[in-house]
């Protein structure tokens, strides 16, 4: 029996001890009308060998394309040690560290993680993770509404250059609580949002503003001015950032005069594989005075009976298992294992390594943009500095080009047709440090061939 160790003799002994004749009797409190028939639609069991063959076949079918897509999930090199340690049974098969004395490994690791995230973002504190970047933004909006007691409305102004899926997710999660998320239009030339746009969207009262850096298009926002505008208008400032970019870019804690109040984002670039979209992790950091409004688990350092340093879950009075309907969020299980990987990843790369990753990603994307926009019929859509993504405009629909590129083994980028139809045949590309000049030349060569072929046809 897969994963069940009982022998026939043991089953007999256990039933005798309980005082029943058979296992079925143990279910006699379930009304007979509800007892399930055989689950006939389930397949027969596979041995480990058989499922291995099946999964290898399917994995091979999907293949490994040379990837130039970002759009919220980024391919970075992950040191071999990261997942070897992360999948040690002691991390992999433990649960939420409620019994602190038996969970010091996980707890100390989370404390180190909180310290690293606070350092990257320039904020005072961090939680132990949320589900992903999109849901973290939703939680940040809810948190800002709870925390900003000077604001009477529940209006959150969101830069129109934020990831459009994040906006959808934040809307779906916050709608029930009557939060209004209003988009502030981005400038068509720069692909960024300026204070004038915020000013015209201002209305009577603003609870919070959401500023992405880099924004969804890869463009760099004037975060100092936007952050100051938010504070000048009584709003809390929420930064949505890429943690790898932060090794290079100004920490949100230093934006403008006062710095951002809440910082969140997608943690995936820190050692988590692409894996078709998950599991990733959301991160959230904030200024110290807001810590009691933060959702999710938090680990604190303290001492034991003998005065030795130890770590424990703290501020649990915010959480659902204590506060029930008055909790800051319903979140319980978060993305602990991903945080384990991210912590080891950050320790192994350090500030210097992560800065190199960011710098090479930026340089590779610059090289890619130059190579593709030199082909003729391809041009950059926005002006101004970018991090490691850029939007290009083609002279023909992007989808067919992407299919042809996929046939040539290249994931050529992300089409913006559905999210931003106003940008025309817009293709967003990304080249992280995992790409090399040969990859980029290969992409340019194939794209040239495809565009030429299309013209000829």
């Amino acid at each position: 029996m897969p994963f069940i160790p009982h022998t026939e003799n043991e089953i007999r002994e256990m039933l005798d001890a309980i005082g029943v004749d058979d296992v079925d009797t143990l279910f006699d409190e379930i009304p007979a009308t509800l007892r399930a028939r055989e689950l006939s639609a389930l397949p027969d069991a596979l041995s480990e060998n058989e499922i291995t063959r099946l999964m290898r076949r399917r994995a091979a079918r999907d293949g490994e394309l040379v990837n130039f897509i970002g759009a919220g999930a980024y391919e970075h090199h992950i040191p071999a040690a990261v997942w070897e340690i992360t999948t040690r049974g002691e991390f992999y098969s433990a649960y939420t560290p409620y019994q602190a004395e038996a969970s010091q490994g996980t707890l100390q690791l989370i404390y180190e993680y909180q310290t690293m995230m606070a350092a990257l973002t320039g904020m005072d504190v961090s939680n132990a993770s949320l589900y992903d970047g999109a849901s973290a933004l939703a939680e940040a909006c809810l948190m800002a509404v709870r925390a900003n007691r000077r604001s009477a409305s529940r209006r959150v102004l969101v830069a129109g250059s934020v990831n459009p899926v994040y906006l959808k997710v934040a809307s779906a999660i916050t709608a029930g609580q009557g939060i209004e998320l209003e988009l502030v239009a981005f400038d068509r030339a720069s692909g960024t949002v300026d204070t004038a746009a915020f000013e015209s969207a201002k209305g009577d009262d603003v609870t919070a503003v959401v500023i992405p850096q880099p924004n969804f298009f890869g463009q760099l926002e004037d975060v100092d001015a936007l952050c100051d505008w938010g504070h000048a208008n009584g709003a809390l400032v929420i930064g949505v950032v890429n943690p790898v970019a932060l090794a290079l870019l100004k920490a949100p804690g230093n934006w403008g005069e006062k710095g951002a109040d809440i910082v969140c984002g997608e943690g995936q670039p820190l050692g988590v594989p692409l894996s078709s979209g998950g599991p990733y992790f959301g991160f959230m950091c904030c200024r110290q005075p807001l810590v009691r409004q933060m959702p999710g688990r938090v680990v604190g350092r303290t001492v034991d009976l003998e005065g030795r340093t130890g770590y424990t879950l703290t501020l649990q009075a915010r959480e659902q298992h204590i506060r029930r309907s008055k909790a800051t969020s319903n979140i319980c299980t978060n993305q602990g294992l991903m945080v384990t990987a991210a912590t080891i990843h950050m320790a192994m790369l350090g500030s210097e390594g992560l800065e190199r990753v960011a710098a090479v990603s930026h340089a590779n994307t610059q090289r890619l943009v130059d190579a593709l926009s030199g082909l003729g019929g391809v041009k950059r859509v926005f002006s101004g500095p970018f991090f490691h993504e850029a939007v290009l405009e083609l002279e023909r629909p992007v989808e067919a080009v992407l299919e042809s590129l996929a046939d040539a083994g290249i994931c050529g980028g992300y089409s913006l047709r559905e999210s931003f139809p106003e940008l025309g045949n817009a293709l967003m590309v990304c080249a992280t440090e995992t790409r090399n000049p040969a990859d980029i030349d290969h992409y340019a060569h194939e794209l040239k061939r495809i565009l030429k072929g299309a013209k000829a046809a």
Partner: protein, 493 residues
């Protein structure tokens, strides 16, 4: 020692980062002024540090972990290695579906298997944990009423024994919580339920078996009462392991269910996640499922798979994650389900229940008092230590800590809140009889010790890396982030 204390200026793991640092042409006003202050260590130092940290954990792979309501069953290793195969682990979520057919086939088949075991009509895999599955469920219930222009229904009924996530979820969805009491046998108080339902009732959230470890025997009557009042029924799948293969929520009258795949389908708990909270729905809620959902077109060799999005499900409650949820967790659940197959799935609840009833019987014989002695255990049960607390001054927390010294992870303590000094104990089906017998022997030893020398038990644990921690200090003198200066550290040490 913290990783930061191994750090030395100028040291780093060279081979793991790019060789070059190219010039960056981004204007200075966008850049950080000084490095981020991450640790500067060698690869080996990082490996040794985190390997040693891992050794300070209890885990399923090292210890019996009977944490009630968490279903800490064995996590098969093949589930991990196969989900990490190149082609699956390297696939970008936005790469063309033409290059994701292998992955999508797994997801579609998982949806179908989950429909079958729960008796529901549709499954969406996107919620990323149980609490997000709950959110999806209640949001769908609200959307259903709103689509019918039944706009006053904003009350969610929640039994007082429910997980804290239930009332917290109802509030997140903009509903009000109406608490329903439990009767003395551990069932929902039917008279109180009848009095609570009405034209404001949006639905009820139920765990069955309940968090008290007993099956809700009058579930059909509850369904009739709630449906009769115009409300819908939500099944919290935290305890699905108790009935897997034996009874199906869909047959009990539930309209929507979330499953904790990290419990019932054995994906890793990972020190606090990632989970996966797939939702199943009955016919009425099909149009409202969160997107994306996987659809299959054609059969056999001609079969292909694609995502259903907002265009296909215009009444959807929307998206809950940036992509499609915890895909890698879902792959692990898929591998587990295929290795169990039809017969294995039927056996899960049987052996989880056999182990729980055997352990319950042995503890009762050893002199421990049960929370609900007249009832069968489901996959878990409650022991109450209120007598030991009163007579010996040794409470549930003391027993929990003493168990750590005995080499067992503690059961869930002080939950559910209804039973004083309780331990909620869930052995799961993957534990052998001898592990259960050893646990009973440990409980007996602790009880004997408590009678002879209660202070000794109250001082436990002794053998763990730290002894009991000062939680009050942790909350009052908040130290959430390490500071690299002596004065800040002095405050702690």
């Amino acid at each position: 020692m913290l990783i930061f204390e191994h750090s030395r200026e100028g040291r780093r793991a060279t081979a793991q980062a790019p060789r070059e640092k190219p010039h960056v042409d981004i204007p200075a006003k966008f850049l950080r002024e000084k490095p981020a202050g991450l640790p500067q260590v060698s690869e080996m130092q990082a490996v040794r540090h985190y390997t040693r940290l891992s050794q300070k954990n209890f885990s399923i792979d090292t210890h019996f972990y009977p944490l009630g309501s968490c279903t800490m069953k064995y996590n098969p290793r093949a589930c991990n290695s196969l989900a990490m195969l190149p082609g699956l682990v390297t696939r970008h979520p936005l790469s063309p579906v033409s290059h994701g057919q292998g992955f999508l086939a797994c997801m579609f088949e998982l949806q179908e298997m989950l429909k079958e075991v729960t008796g529901m009509q549709g499954v969406s895999l996107t919620p990323m944990a149980g609490a997000q599955g709950e959110f999806a469920g209640v949001a769908m219930i609200r959307a259903y009423h709103q689509a019918r222009a039944d706009l006053d229904r904003d009350e969610i009924l929640v039994p007082d024994a429910a997980h804290g996530t239930n009332p917290a979820t109802a509030i997140m969805c903009g509903c009000k919580v109406v608490e329903i009491p439990t009767d003395k046998h551990g069932d929902v108080d039917i008279d109180a339920l009848k009095a609570a339902v009405g034209p404001r009732t949006a639905g009820i959230m139920l765990t069955n078996p309940s968090t008290l470890g007993v099956f809700e025997r009058r579930i059909e009557e509850i369904a009739k009462i709630v449906h009769g009042a115009g409300g819908l029924l939500y099944y919290d799948g935290a305890n699905l392991n108790a009935i897997l293969g034996k009874a199906r929520p869909g047959d009990m009258g539930f309209d929507v269910i979330h499953m904790n795949l990290h419990k019932t389908f054995s994906t890793p708990h990972g020190g606090g996640g990632p989970g996966s909270g797939a939702v199943g729905v009955g016919k009425r809620l099909l149009p409202f499922m969160p997107v994306p959902v996987v659809a299959k077109e054609g059969e056999g060799d001609a079969a292909s798979y694609r995502w259903l999005t907002e265009k296909d499900l215009p009444q959807t409650i929307g998206r809950l994650s940036a992509f499609m949820g915890n895909a890698g967790v879902l792959l692990r659940a898929y591998v587990y389900a295929r290795m169990l197959g039809r017969d294995g799935m039927n056996r899960v609840a049987e052996f989880a229940t056999l182990n729980a009833n055997y352990l319950m019987t042995k503890l009762r014989e050893a002199g421990f008092q049960l929370g609900y002695p007249g009832r069968r255990a489901s996959h878990e049960f409650i022991v109450t230590l209120k007598r030991q607390d009163k007579e010996l001054g040794v409470n549930a927390m003391d027993f929990a800590k003493a168990l750590l010294d005995e080499g067992f992870h503690a059961p869930t303590t002080y939950f559910p809140l209804l039973v004083p000094e309780c331990l909620l104990i869930e052995p799961t089906e993957t534990e052998a009889k001898e592990a259960i017998d050893a646990f009973v022997a440990a409980m007996v030893r602790i009880l004997e010790q408590a009678k002879k020398d209660p202070q000794k038990v109250k001082g436990a644990p002794y053998s763990t890396p730290v002894r009991r921690l000062d939680d009050v200090r942790a909350a009052r003198q908040l130290d959430l982030v390490w500071k690299n200066d002596a004065s800040a550290n002095d405050k702690v040490a």
